[in-house]
């Protein structure tokens, strides 16, 4: 069974719990938007669920051996780090490391996965460019392509749309929701309520260490919830392209 299951999941930072007794199940085909104000624990939830930080309770991912987990879930951290001036192609190829046997060189299916990821993120013309010489938004797309090249049934991304121009934000969200439609599980933390409302199949709002709301976007993003959790007023309408959420003021 793939997807992510958390049961009685708590994460402590120092003496106090950042997350308390979270129970959450994300299945195949879901594109889950993880929402919440700054410091609500979105990144903490994902990192701890992956087993990258200590936690109490059950996570279906953190209990796996690290090597096996790397073939099941790809993780894109919020800090976009590219340490060395490697080519875009080389960087994206790093996504295939969990699939390579020790000492083996990339097989045809690895090359196919790399090519597919490059095409999906529209990076064909960047292939041979040095990754560290690209702009911040371009680097973000290259790093997303790395995560896609890992070809895992679960994709966990931390604020993937941050720093992208509007066109690339929309095409990124289309890529993520297409992944989900193909049967994968996508979990993305987001701040842009409009993008989350339009492209996610399900939204989970974290607040004060727990889940304040969980459901389809139009059920979750009510004026009451936006006021209570985000302290904003927003204009919410329904359009042929999906729900439109436009924050208009602070409460």
């Amino acid at each position: 069974m793939t997807g992510l299951t958390l049961k009685d999941f708590s994460v402590a930072r120092g003496p106090c719990d950042v997350l308390r007794d979270i129970t959450l199940s994300v299945g195949q085909g879901e594109c889950l938007g993880l929402l919440g104000p700054n410091g609500a624990g979105k990144t903490t939830l994902m990192r701890a669920a992956l087993g990258l930080m200590p936690h109490r309770g059950v996570s279906s991912l953190s209990s796996l051996p690290p090597k096996e987990r790397a073939t099941i879930v790809a993780w894109l951290p919020q800090t976009r780090e590219i340490a060395w001036p490697v080519s875009v192609e080389t960087l994206i190829a790093l996504g295939r490391l969990p699939h390579l046997a020790p000492g083996a060189s990339p097989a045809p299916q690895d090359k196919a996965a790399i090519d597919a990821a490059i095409t999906r993120m529209g990076l064909e013309s960047f292939r041979k460019r040095i990754a560290t010489h690209l702009s911040g938004g371009e680097q973000a797309r290259v790093l997303i392509a790395r995560a896609l090249a890992q070809e895992t049934p679960i994709l966990m991304v931390d604020e993937p749309a941050a720093g992208l121009d509007p066109a690339h934000q929309i095409s990124l969200m289309q890529t993520l929701s297409a992944q989900a439609r193909n049967g994968d599980t996508v979990i993305a933390s987001m701040h842009d309520l409009g993008l989350a409302a339009r492209f996610c199949t399900r939204l989970v709002v974290l607040w004060h260490g727990g889940i304040a709301a969980d459901g389809p976007p139009q059920q979750v993003l009510t004026p009451e919830l936006l006021a209570k959790v985000f302290r904003i007023r927003a204009h919410v309408t329904h359009h042929a392209d999906g729900p439109i959420v436009q924050p208009v003021g602070v409460i």
């Binding site: 993780w75 340490a83 490697v86 080519s87 790093l94 890992q150």
Partner: protein
């Protein structure tokens, strides 16, 4: 391109190794020298070749490759082109062990006393670093622990110099610390070789993990890299190689810093490809430097570590300048 580079470096090592065998104050003709080395006629020529020049050339390859590989591994792990093998304090501690052996007279009493004291210093440094850096934790705690150990080793070395009974003892210590391959025997080679081979084995097998670290510690961990284990392997590998290199050759600076820097663009900046290339590049650099000290000032005993620093420091200036030009500093 990677294969061609490695083949070229191997060829360069072989060429410089041969040149190193042919350079020396005995003034042997090249063919005569090589025949004496291979056949061994029991005469002075064979003695010179087998007991003086061969260990010197072998040690240059060994020490150079250790420093180059350790430097590439440190830079790969820390994701910083300014990292060098001495950063974790092992070379300073090995030097302290050697200095204590020189000061107390153990070094004069037995041929092996000095390298063994230096290796002991390296082992103590590793234990302190591992205790300070803790079982969990990233690269920052490792750097801080290394700086603390280096500082302490430097202070204690200064104390030993300060308390040395006469200027000759102090001069001996100072000259040893400058680093040299002169007057080493095959015993020195056999002491250092196992440690350096072990360290090379530990580090060369970590290439993919260093590659994954290009994406940062969090992403690497999510890709199955056990960060704690990698750090332990790095410390043991670097300490084993650098401790042994310092024990037989003294402190030779800048090789571990400069070699990965020069070779990085030639391997497409991939940390895994940089490891073997830097091992060979380090051997090339130390062989060249050790030939140069014999050719430039044959009568003045120019120290190897002095020459590598004189050549290395301007290259380091260049590195800083280039980094600044790219807007990264």
């Amino acid at each position: 391109m990677g294969r061609a580079l490695l083949a070229g470096l191997v060829g360069l090592v072989a060429l410089l190794f041969t040149v190193s065998l042919l350079v020396g104050p005995a003034g042997l003709a090249p063919t005569e020298a090589l025949l004496a080395l291979i056949h061994g006629n029991g005469l002075a020529e064979t003695l010179v070749m087998r007991e003086i020049r061969l260990p010197r050339a072998l040690l240059a390859v060994l020490v150079g490759s250790a420093l180059g590989l350790a430097g590439a591994a440190m830079q790969g792990y820390l994701r910083n082109p300014l990292a060098e093998p001495g950063l974790i304090g092992v070379s300073g501690s090995a030097a302290l062990g050697a200095v204590i052996a020189l000061q107390t007279g153990f070094a004069a009493a037995h041929l092996l006393a000095l390298p063994i004291a230096a290796l002991t210093g390296a082992v103590v440094a590793v234990l302190i670093i591992l205790a300070l850096a803790g079982p969990r934790g990233g690269s920052i705690t490792l750097i801080l622990a290394g700086i603390a150990v280096s500082a302490l080793a430097g202070a204690l070395t200064a104390l030993v110099l300060n308390l040395s009974p006469n200027p000759f003892a102090a001069a001996e210590i100072v000259f040893w610390m400058m680093g040299s391959l002169q007057d080493r025997s095959m015993i020195h080679f056999w002491i250092a070789a196992p440690f350096i081979a072990l360290g090379a084995l530990l580090l060369l097998t970590q290439g993919r993990k260093f590659d994954a670290l290009t994406l940062g510690e969090d992403a690497a961990a999510s890709m199955g890299v056990h960060l704690g284990r990698l750090r332990l392997t790095l410390v043991l590998g670097v300490a084993s190689m650098v401790g042994a290199a310092t024990a037989v050759a003294g402190a030779i600076g800048f090789v571990g810093l400069v070699v990965p820097h020069i070779l990085r663009p030639l391997v497409g900046a991939r940390p895994s490809a940089l490891l073997p290339a830097s091992a060979l590049g380090g051997a090339v650099l130390v062989l060249m430097a050790d030939i140069a000290v014999r050719v430039i000032l044959p009568t003045r005993d120019l120290k190897l570590g002095v020459l590598t620093a004189i050549v290395g420091a301007p290259l380091f200036f260049h590195l800083i300048y280039k980094t600044r030009m790219q807007g990264q500093l």
